[in-house]
Amino acid sequence: GAGVSQSPSNKVTEKGKDVELRCDPISGHTALYWYRQSLGQGLEFLIYFQGNSAPDKSGLPSDRFSAERTGGSVSTLTIQRTQQEDSAVYLCASSLIVGAQGETQYFGPGTRLLVL
């Protein structure tokens, strides 16, 4: 079956504009995660969903960042009033079972965001 897909693959935007990043998880995966990968910084956890709810939003770097998930499937990460420091690769991952520890995460190819 299809893996995790993300769109767009690349996004260039001007400072101050809003952007939406989309993630389509593997069908049937109930857990969905967003990470930010900056050069030399590894993977920074942003938020995860169990179904449509997000129990932990503590990783979001500021109130300009928000995310939602509808129908237990597609998720959208929105960055409002983008800043140059938001430039990074945004990765989405999904896993099969909610709350079961040790589950393997399956990653999408990422969205490379560049804020000019």
Binding site: V4, A31, Y33, G42, L43, G99, Q101, T104, Y106, F107
Partner: protein, 113 residues
């Protein structure tokens, strides 16, 4: 809270030589440990993971890792590397209290001809 330290940001090694990528973690409870690999221009994929049982875990592409509870380490090893192993390797940790997985900053493996 858990944390992961990958001390080496880059590791150069000659082809067919052995390699060890170091990972240390910090947690007050039992943990699950992972190594993920990111090949150039590709997404992350699981290399191997430790959940319980045998402390020596074998993964794909000839890699293995050993869980050492006393040293809070989960170092990744391969006895003979190939040019195709050029990638960035991420160590990660989670535990039963939380669905989050915490990743290290990654180690870039450079294979020298």
């Amino acid at each position: 809270a858990q944390s992961v330290t990958q001390l080496d940001s880059q590791v150069p090694v000659f082809e067919e030589a052995p390699v060890e990528l170091r990972c240390n973690y910090s947690s007050s409870v039992s943990v699950y440990l992972f190594w993920y690999v990111q090949y150039p221009n590709q997404g992350l994929q699981l290399l191997l993971k430790y959940l319980s049982g045998s402390t020596l875990v074998k993964g794909i592409n000839g890699f293995e890792a050993e869980f050492n509870k006393s040293q809070t380490s989960f170092h990744l090893r391969k006895p003979s590397v190939h040019i195709s192993d050029t990638a960035e390797y991420f160590c990660a940790v989670s535990d039963f209290r939380d669905d989050k997985i915490i990743f290290g900053k990654g180690t870039r493996l450079h294979i020298l001809p």
